[in-house]
């Protein structure tokens, strides 16, 4: 197991180098250098912020030196300070020149996005597993057909549009759910239980929207996995020795069909993080997506580069966790035989 883990960790090194190269490339995509880009959204980009940008990324030095500095920034997770007037550090809390402790932008936003992602992953697993199993057990029956239609529509529906419709229907027309922010104004005065209910109400639509694509995909995946497994010899053996059907389905078949699901959930992390942009800006939820969108609109380059790198790092960590979980769940991988 330890050897397996070390091998996985070792493979992350070239990926990190690649990520640093790609992000460096993006910085130099703009014709000229980024300080001369016509800042379409912010014509007031001042000479001062241009100077700051030059200094931050050492734009006056040779390319190779610049890349060295960029590597150093990535290595120390120091992405500078935001261009916005508050000038907060991009990643983590730091003391400013007056000695005041300032919290990092990503530090504040990350837990919120992680919470939404964990909740939607949970929702995906809770709903998609039974759907997939039912679909596989009643192949081509009415439940299977209904679920297939759900899968195709779930893949096709634009999340931001559905969010807009739900926002209008549940929030504006009926006033059942709040439509913006994380908490109500009087959140601080509520009891613990009321606080949980309040947060749940605020998060209900955003979590559902971010889970939707995954719901469709994972149901289909579980269904195909179950169909695959159900036709294998050991299932026939299990049935032949007279095990109850439920034991065969849930203990023998589902366990094996679920294995690839671990990897798939790990792989779906970048989509979930990236997909948070539209949902979070629509519902004014102060997570990574909204932070990133605001940074893009204001051409706040340090924040853009910081989130891009942290987002990639999170994906790598997610994949690593998925690999570990897989090795833990599958003795073949754990003991290094076959598979």
């Amino acid at each position: 197991m330890t050897r397996y883990l070390l091998k996985r960790l070792f493979w992350m090194v070239p990926l990190l180098v690649g990520i640093s190269l790609i992000s460096f490339l993006i910085m130099h995509l703009a014709p000229g250098d980024i300080t001369t880009t016509e800042a379409g959204f912010n014509p007031k980009a001042s000479e001062e912020s241009r100077q700051k940008l030059r200094k931050l990324y050492h734009l006056d030095e040779p390319l190779l030196t610049q890349y060295g500095y960029w590597l150093q920034r990535m290595g120390t997770l120091d992405f500078g300070t935001s261009f916005a007037t508050h000038q907060r550090p991009v990643f983590w809390e730091k003391k400013d020149e007056h000695g005041n402790e300032q919290k990092g932008l990503i530090q504040d936003a990350l837990p919120i996005t992680l919470l939404i992602n964990v909740l939607s992953l949970g929702l995906i697993v809770i709903v998609a597993l039974p759907l997939g199993v039912i679909s596989a057990l009643h192949q081509n029956g009415p439940p299977d057909r209904a679920i297939t239609i759900f899968v195709f529509v779930g893949f096709a529906v634009p999340g931001f549009w559905l969010a807009l419709m739900l926002m209008y229907w549940l929030g504006v027309a009926h006033d059942w759910l709040p439509i913006s922010g994380l908490h109500s104004l009087d959140y601080e005065k509520m009891g613990v239980l009321a606080q949980i209910v309040d947060s749940a109400k605020h998060l209900a639509i955003p979590v559902f929207i971010s889970a939707l694509g995954g719901l469709a995909g994972i149901s289909l995946f579980v269904k195909n996995g179950m169909l695959d497994v159900l036709h294998q010899d050991y299932i026939t053996t299990a049935r032949a020795k007279g095990l109850p059907e439920n034991t065969v389905v849930y203990r023998h078949a589902l366990r094996n069909a679920m294995l690839p699901l671990i990897t798939l959930l790990g792989l779906s992390i970048p989509g979930l993080i990236g997909g948070s942009v539209i949902a979070e800006s629509l519902f004014a939820i102060p997570g990574m997506g909204k932070l990133f969108y605001d940074a893009v609109m204001m051409r706040d380059f340090p924040v853009i580069m910081g989130i891009l790198t942290i987002g990639a790092a999170l994906t790598l960590i997610g994949n690593l966790l998925a690999d570990i979980a897989y090795a833990w769940a599958d003795p073949r991988v754990r003991r290094g035989v076959g598979g």
Binding site: V153, G274, V277, I278
Partner: protein
């Protein structure tokens, strides 16, 4: 093709996509109004026999804008996925044919690209450039070639070991001839399937970007930016939000049905697993 259309999924998909293509192609003839003509006397009119899908906040006819928006969606989808497919074929073919260290480098590049959240990557690039329809097509293309690369590589790796390729090689066929006459034509089916499915996701990405104001720029109509207007008027003009959303849903559904149907019909291997 006839064989493929015997599949009900593919038939429905082809019907939906065919209709939308036709409407988009004939937009200048069908559209009852100039899509950009502002009419201050007809602001936010509900759907009627004159304005089938109502009018927007500037009095423009939504039906006409939807028709021209369809052109944008389809254009962006095809060009972006065309770029991605071209890159994917070249890289995948090189990796799968020559193997060795080139293969390792290309596959690591794929891993790197896959580890950066795509939507973040697209937004970041657009932040450094200016949002325009051409930049969007290029950016979507440059950030979505990884799937095709993996696919073509896998096809090439397995095809290279097959007898007909080995015999052609023994008869003295040059590498380029092997690639273009033997390997590529035999990998065409999965490439077509992934192209069709790719267009579906490109349409979704474009509409999302336009919705955020970072895609197709007004006054040029796109389904995404009609929806952005719809958001402002959602309390009293439901038609501005409903129709573009349904159009996107139907288009993406059409491509997905066509893609899955083609896969089932043309690729006996996956068809076997599914049934």
């Amino acid at each position: 093709m006839k064989y493929a259309l015997a599949n009900p999924l593919a038939r429905w998909g082809a019907f939906i996509i065919g209709s939308i293509l036709l409407l988009a192609f004939l937009a200048p003839i069908i559209a009852p109004f100039d899509p950009d003509a502002i009419d201050v006397k007809a602001i936010l009119l509900a759907p009627s026999s004159v304005h089938w899908m109502g009018t927007d906040g500037l009095g423009r006819d939504v039906f006409s804008r939807m028709l021209f928006g369809a052109r944008i969606s389809l254009l962006v989808g095809f060009v972006a996925v065309g770029i991605a497919t071209a890159i994917g074929i070249v890289l995948g073919a090189i990796a799968g044919f020559y193997r060795g260290w080139v293969n390792v480098v290309i596959m690591r590049l794929v891993d790197v690209m896959l580890s950066i959240p795509t939507f973040f990557l697209i937004l970041a690039v657009i932040a450094f450039l200016t949002p325009s329809i051409w930049n969007i097509m290029i950016v979507i293309g440059l950030t979505s070639w990884m799937g095709v690369t993996r696919l073509v590589r896998a096809e090439f790796l397995s095809l290279r070991e097959r007898e007909f390729v080995l015999s052609a090689q023994t008869l003295g066929a040059k590498n380029l001839r092997l690639i273009f006459r033997h390997l590529l034509p035999n990998s065409l089916t999965p490439i077509i399937v992934s192209f069709v499915l790719g267009v579906a996701s490109a349409v979704l990405i474009e509409s999302g970007l336009s919705f955020l104001g970072l895609g197709v720029q007004p006054p040029q109509a796109s389904w995404g930016n009609i929806l952005t207007d719809g958001k402002e008027y959602i309390q009293f003009a439901w038609w501005l939000s409903l129709f573009p959303g349904l159009a996107i849903l139907l288009t993406v559904l059409g491509y997905n049905l066509l893609g899955e149907g083609l896969r089932d019909a043309l690729d006996p291997r996956t068809a076997k697993i599914k049934s």
